[in-house]
């Protein structure tokens, strides 16, 4: 039975031009969504160092969401393709570490897609809630490894 009182902590990395603006737009439209995510704004999803994701998991996040512009729409031409490449690799690493797939997501959400942002936030929270808190067996080791 999943713990009903468990509120997942989600760290979200949003690019300034698409997904961050979609979140702004969701606010302006007074959409309501789950309050679990904390957004870290970056200029481009291409800025996301895989270490950011590992650090978030190591320091207590139950899920990590990356939001960027749709392929072809990157404000910086192709930063999001670099993100995609890194995410593919990182997913395999996370799997090796025993972190379930649903805990780490990359979504393309344009500035126009406030509704998609709302739905993604809610869906992510629901899926991670169903998984329960992230329990890393070697959490301490990992924290040391990724520390800068």
């Amino acid at each position: 039975m999943p713990d009903k009182t468990f509120e997942p902590k989600i760290v979200a990395f949003f690019c300034n031009w698409c997904t961050y603006m979609a979140a702004d737009s969701a606010g302006v439209s007074r959409m309501k969504y789950a309050p679990n995510a904390r957004v870290v704004r970056l200029m481009c999803s291409g800025r996301i160092d895989p270490q950011f994701v590992l650090d978030a998991f190591a320091k207590g996040a139950d899920g990590v969401l990356i939001g960027g512009c749709h392929p072809g729409d990157c404000h910086y031409q192709e930063g999001n393709y670099k993100t995609l490449r890194r995410v593919q690799l990182l997913k395999r690493v996370l799997k090796e570490m025993g972190i379930e797939e649903e805990r780490f997501r990359l979504e393309w959400i344009s500035a126009a897609e406030a509704e998609r942002l709302r739905a993604t936030m809610n869906d992510m929270v629901e899926k991670v809630r169903a998984l329960g808190p992230l329990r890393l067996s070697n959490k301490e080791v990992m924290r040391e490894e990724v520390a800068v």
Partner: protein
């Protein structure tokens, strides 16, 4: 706590935004908790931080409490980051020692009714910012120079007005239009509401002025195909499609049209919405600008078979203006600012199949009726049915492709008024009985409601109800040979069948089919419906999130001619303001290399889409050209040795944010 900048003294300011934030977030307790965070010297909450007294709080705290870092928790940084940086600067701080926390758009507005959760979220985000800002360092402001030349894309009334305003101010304007003539939709209209002045009479003098203006380079049949660079320094590629006529040599005498081997015009005339015919060589309409003919290669025998007698060339004689060899011509220009005025497309009435457009010949779109009414139109201004007879009764259906779940949800703003105008004009031309079918009558504008009252007095019928269908299925004699509109008259609560001779579909306005491509070219954004997004709906209505790119007219959303012209003037003056300032401040969020750590591996070089990174051959290290760097940070994330760093998005700052939101500081 200290770093290279001495001891860190942070001021935290939490904005109520009236009740926008304070209604959902317990700002008082948030401020109290923030006061206990390491490094925080003062923590305050205030009604409106962006107001003068709000900014004054920061100023006095810099003096009194010697704060040297400012965290403002309020709205989105996209809205007010600039405001608070300015405030910090006025107080004597480096503007980049501020950081904004978004607790309105990302918190209070999306978690209404969840005070506890929203408050906790604000706590977390502020804690992250407080931790992050310890690693901020003073940065130099960056500036770029603004080139004076301007590009205006789209030559409808918006583009024409913007171009003339800029050119009259002495700036050189490149006006690029895709069609063979400027004038846009307005040139097709007969009269304009509510004053009923003739569209051509007010538009064509402006079109002529564009052509005659020494500061305007007009390129018709042309499209922007590539845009590079950034505010102040855009390099734009314009592809000029062949007209097969040398514009400089053609005098617009039309003798070639006369002489064409096609004695009868037999090709659909686009300007007349296909209601009239034209020849392969033609001028779109008599007042077209430029006053130059063009050849349609799809229709011309010479292009199709190469066997034409070329009577047109003969007729042109010594001018030698006809050139069958013309090819696409690529022009490269440098401009500092851009006005996008690419307009709209009318909704295709076939998208609403139950109104029978394309099935019943006497169902017309409103754009077709504009041409039928127009004295220079295919019928010389006579409103006639397809068989040449005059309609005795006409039904005008509002909101076709507007306010509709199945097509477009938005109100197109102009249809009620132009439907009234068409009702008036059709009645004037034919004396027919007119029925208007409307959902709501929307007449917000100067003289608009008065115009509606006038129509009511003229005896036009108004039926409130959304028409269910148009059919030719007659139930009795009176309906035979007619088009029957089935509608619930919601004011009398009856379902009615109204037989008419002619149906006019008042189609809505929607973004161009290729608006997304234009959006990508200029790196701006669109709303969900596809219109270009302005920087702020109220405070920056003609700016975009891409500096130096401005919006005018219906590409930003449906609007009437007065609003379009007003917006075009606003866009032109925004561009002028930039040009006359001569320079613009840019984000100093560029990447830089810590040379000692760089191994010279060159991973970063291929990643940069702007070619901003090069390798110093003598030192075997990478170096970033800050003028070319746009600050995406992709190279920073990829550097295996951590020697690439990004101003305002340093690794330490981001790690602190991550850990801050995860509650490890408590």
């Amino acid at each position: 706590m200290s770093n290279q900048n001495g001891s860190v003294r942070i001021g935290v300011y939490i904005c109520h935004c009236g009740t926008n934030i304070a209604g959902t977030v317990d700002v008082k307790s948030v401020a109290e908790r923030a006061a206990r965070l390491p490094g925080v010297v003062v923590s305050r909450e205030y009604k409106y931080m962006c107001s003068d007294p709000g900014q004054e709080l920061i100023r006095s705290d810099v003096q009194e409490h010697k704060i040297n870092r400012v965290v403002v928790a309020s709205c989105s940084p996209l809205l007010h980051e600039h405001t608070f940086r300015k405030a910090a600067e006025k107080s004597g701080l480096n503007p980049y020692l501020t950081h904004m926390v978004n607790i309105r758009e990302h918190d209070s507005w999306v978690h209404v009714g969840q005070k506890e959760e929203a408050t906790r979220k604000a706590d977390d985000l502020i804690r992250a910012a407080v931790r992050r800002i310890r690693y901020h360092k003073p940065l130099e402001k960056g500036y770029v120079k603004i080139q004076a030349d301007v590009l205006v894309v789209g030559g409808g009334i918006a583009g024409i007005h913007a171009a003339l305003t800029l050119a009259n101010a002495g700036k050189h304007v490149y006006l690029v239009e895709r069609d063979p003539t400027i004038g846009g939709h307005m040139a097709k209209f007969d009269k304009t509401f509510p004053t009923l002045d003739c569209a051509a009479c007010i538009l064509t003098p402006k079109m002529t002025a564009v052509k005659a203006h020494p500061n305007i380079t007009l390129w018709t049949l042309s499209e922007v195909t590539a845009v590079e660079g950034y505010v102040g320094n855009y390099e734009v590629t314009v592809t000029r499609h062949p007209r097969y006529i040398n514009e400089e040599l053609c005098a617009g005498c039309m003798q070639c049209v006369e002489a064409c081997v096609y004695k009868q015009a037999r090709f659909d005339d686009e300007f007349n919405e296909g209601l009239g015919k034209r020849k392969p060589v033609y001028i779109p309409f008599p007042q077209a600008i430029p006053q130059v003919v063009l050849i349609d290669p799809e229709a011309c025998i010479e292009f199709k078979k190469g066997t034409c007698k070329k009577t047109c060339v003969e007729a042109c004689g010594d001018r030698h203006a006809i050139d069958f060899q013309q090819k696409d011509e690529v022009k490269k220009i440098k401009v500092g600012t851009v006005v996008l005025s690419t307009g709209f497309q009318a909704v295709d009435p076939k998208k609403v199949p139950y109104y029978g457009y394309g099935t019943y010949p006497n169902v017309y779109s409103s754009m077709e009726v504009e041409r039928l009414i127009n004295a220079s139109g295919p019928t010389g201004g006579e409103v006639v049915l397809r068989d040449g007879s005059h309609p005795k009764s006409v039904g005008i259906i509002h909101c076709v492709g507007s306010r509709d779940e199945y097509t477009n949800k938005w109100c197109s703003r102009v249809c009620c008024m132009y439907s009234l105008k068409l009702a008036h004009l059709i009645k004037e031309h034919t004396g027919a009985e007119i029925f208007n079918f409307y959902i709501d009558m929307r007449t917000p504008g100067k003289g608009f409601e008065e115009f509606y009252q006038r129509l009511l007095q003229e005896g036009v019928h108004f039926i409130r109800g959304k028409v269910a269908e148009v059919t030719d299925w007659a139930l009795d004699k009176s309906e035979e040979g007619k088009l029957v509109l089935r509608v619930e008259d919601t004011l009398s609560a009856f379902v009615r069948r109204i037989p008419v001779d002619m149906v006019v579909l008042s189609v809505g306005l929607e973004p161009h089919a290729d608006a997304q491509e234009v959006r990508r070219l200029f790196n701006i954004s669109c709303g969900g419906e596809g219109f270009f997004t302005e920087r702020h709906p109220k405070l920056a209505p003609v700016s975009t999130f891409t500096d130096g790119v401005f919006l005018a007219g219906c590409c930003q959303g449906p609007k009437d001619i007065p609003d379009t012209v007003a917006q075009a003037g606003a866009a032109a003056s925004e561009a002028l303001a930039l040009i006359d300032a001569g320079q613009i401040e840019i984000e100093p969020n560029t990447a830089y290399v810590v040379e000692e750590a760089c191994s010279g591996c060159q991973t970063c070089i291929g990643l940069c889409p702007y070619h901003a990174i090069t390798r110093l051959e003598d030192k075997k290290k990478a170096t970033v050209n800050p003028v070319l760097c746009k600050g995406c940070g992709t190279c920073v994330a990829a550097c295996p040795s951590g020697s690439l760093r990004q101003n305002l998005f340093e690794d330490e700052q981001i790690f602190e944010e991550i850990e801050g939101v995860l509650d490890y500081a408590r």
